[in-house]
């Protein structure tokens, strides 16, 4: 067990800072070296799709469920997809039971935007009857062990769980009623967004901060990157300020790291067969 308090001593902060200035990290990684990522998918039988992702010792479990409801009036032919996150107190002595706090909401929204703005989902496919019935997908991310960089962990878990979805398909019968057509099919997913987070202490930038670094860093920035090597969403956290050069350099680095990670993980292998 690692002892984590809400306060990191200035001694530890100075040590982490000193190491980073020398281009070193307290866990021995290089500044732009990502931790080991492992993915297990389809482990929850009652979820339409699920994924259990570790980045180092950080762990997020994600499950996808659906509902069929009315579409939004401004998008009558499009399905809906929401990401929610739960910082369950199982994951860390710092998390408390209760409604999601602002960190949990921010994380969910960052993951949501990563998925939304890469246009990876085919929202028209999720429409059963225009203006009446659309699929509503719920992507619920549970933080199971917190050792830093939960954003990236949750983002990988969310897209892996979506790729793992086998959705029962609906049809409209002669009376205009909704019913199951007897088949399950995976979602049509055109893009795989990957989120890459960088931390910043003074003027040193590094990828994939671990918990101890996260607790002392001045700020961090998360990029969602698509397969076309474009950055599709950015979130800056905390109070550090970033120069335009830093942002551009970090974006380029994010694209590079995301590309490598995407190849290595080969998340499409978790897509189930239609039945």
């Amino acid at each position: 067990m690692i002892d984590i308090s809400k306060v990191v001593s200035s001694l530890e902060k100075n040590y982490i800072r000193k190491l980073l200035k020398q281009g070193k990290r307290i866990d021995g990684r290089g500044l732009f070296e990502y931790r080991e990522v492992t993915v297990t998918a389809g482990f929850v039988p009652k979820a339409e799709g699920s994924a259990d992702v570790h980045i180092g010792d950080s762990r997020v479990m994600c499950g996808v469920k659906y509902d069929i409801g009315r579409p939004y009036s401004d998008n009558p032919d499009k399905g809906v997809c929401t990401v929610m996150s739960e910082f369950v107190p199982i994951a860390s002595p710092m998390f408390e039971p209760g409604r999601p706090g602002e960190d949990a909401i921010q994380l969910a929204r960052v993951v949501d935007r990563g998925i939304r703005h890469t246009n990876c989902l085919d929202y028209n496919e999720l429409c059963v009857k225009v203006g009446e019935f659309v699929y509503i997908l719920f992507i619920d991310c549970y933080m199971m062990d917190h050792f830093g960089n939960l954003t990236d962990t949750a983002a990988i878990a969310a897209i892996a769980a979506l790729l793992n979805v086998n959705l029962p398909r609906a049809k409209i019968d002669a009376d205009g009623k909704l019913e199951w057509d007897g088949t399950y099919r995976p979602l049509n997913i055109s893009e795989i967004p990957i989120s890459i987070t960088f931390g910043k202490i003074d003027d040193v930038i590094f990828v994939d901060p671990i918990l101890a670094e996260e607790m002392v860093l001045d700020g961090s920035i998360a990029f969602a990157v698509d397969e076309k090597k474009q950055v599709t969403s950015i979130q800056k956290y905390k109070s550090a300020t970033w120069s335009v050069e830093e942002i551009m350099e970090t974006s380029a680095k994010a694209v590079e790291i995301a590309d490598e990670l995407r190849k290595k993980l080969n998340l499409r292998q978790y897509t189930p067969k239609a039945c």
Partner: protein
């Protein structure tokens, strides 16, 4: 909530050959496996797979009580949070805790309190967080089994382990360890938690119709099933320490080997060591480490692999190393 695929609601709980739908006999438990130490941040943790249930339990504490007014000056308090993941059930569950979860948290807490020494932790709390990741009937029993394992893993003294398992009745037959369907369409359900030391029951609920004789048979099944699960619990707790001791032995072996290697090196040429330091940094000594490497390989074929690729730091640390290693 509109969902397309409904769960089966027919009453059939037996196959044609008289066995249950999953092939079990009436007095047989579902497949069971467990593991401890699965949540690294927690003081103690456990994963229980019981049938289709996947349940994580984590212990935090004993630690300070928040809010303070809940603290008791003469004893510690136990707090249990049983929660189900939204995707653990057939129809998505709302993430907010409902009445059922609150009640189950309470009965689990009361089933664990009798085996703990709460009087030893005045003004403190022990928290048990239970997360049901996949639910398949009998989650309160499996959760208690997981909580008991997590408490033991956290090193919190206990009078006994506890095991949760249910009996019940479906289509007129008394059954051990109801599955999801048997639980939903069956006639009766008796979730029990057994204190293994004296076989007393610390959690008991009952819903349905059963004669007293049937109930007696149900309890017999429960005690029998609990014993099986208890053995798996003990195995899981032991195997964690077995793993640790195996790793420690490996580490010991490594240290022994490197100690022998460094001793031999000192015998080979104690004078060379200190002289290496400045030389390695200067440019004309660039090929020296390579030559040294070849010699080492020839002289000590048994030296551990890790040492060969990095002769430079090895050379630097050698003179001060042996006392530290020993």
């Amino acid at each position: 909530m509109t969902i397309l695929v409904q769960e089966p609601h027919d009453e059939v709980c037996f196959r044609e050959d008289g066995k249950r739908l999953d092939g079990r006999a009436v007095d047989e438990i579902r497949s069971f496996s467990c593991e401890v130490g699965v949540i690294k941040n927690a003081q103690g943790s456990a994963l229980v797979r019981h049938g289709g249930n996947q349940i994580y339990a984590a212990i935090y504490g004993p630690r300070e009580v928040h809010p303070r007014h809940l603290a008791k000056p003469d004893r510690g308090i136990l707090r249990v949070y049983y929660r189900m993941a939204t995707f653990s059930v057939h129809e998505r569950k709302s993430p907010a805790p409902n009445r059922r979860e609150n009640e189950i948290s309470k009965v689990i807490r009361e089933s664990l309190e009798p085996v703990l020494f709460l009087e030893a932790y005045p003004d403190s709390q022990i928290e048990i967080y239970i997360e049901v990741i996949a639910a398949d009937g009998g989650t309160r029993c499996a959760s208690t089994t997981a909580a008991s394992l997590a408490l033991a893993d956290a090193g919190i003294p206990m009078k006994s382990m506890v095991v949760g398992v249910a009996a019940g009745k479906a289509q007129g037959k008394v059954l051990l360890d109801l599955g999801d369907k048997e639980d939903k369409v069956g006639q009766a359900d008796i979730p029990c938690v057994v204190v293994m030391k004296d076989k007393s029951i610390s959690l008991l609920q009952f819903d349905g119709e059963m004669s007293l004789d049937e109930m007696k048979l149900g309890f017999e099944y429960v005690l029998k099933g609990a014993e099986d699960i208890y053995q798996s619990q003990l195995e899981a707790l032991k195997s964690k320490y077995q793993k640790i001791s195996e790793e420690a032995l490996k580490e010991d072996a490594k240290i022994d080997k490197s100690a022998i290697a460094t001793e031999e090196k000192i015998e080979d040429g104690p004078a060379e060591g200190p002289e290496d330091l400045p030389q390695n940094k200067s440019e004309d000594a660039v090929d020296l480490p390579v030559a040294e490497k070849v010699e080492e390989k020839a002289a000590e074929p048994k030296a551990p692999k890790a040492e060969n690729p990095a002769p430079e730091p090895e050379g630097k640390t050698t003179p001060s190393n042996p006392p530290g290693d020993a």
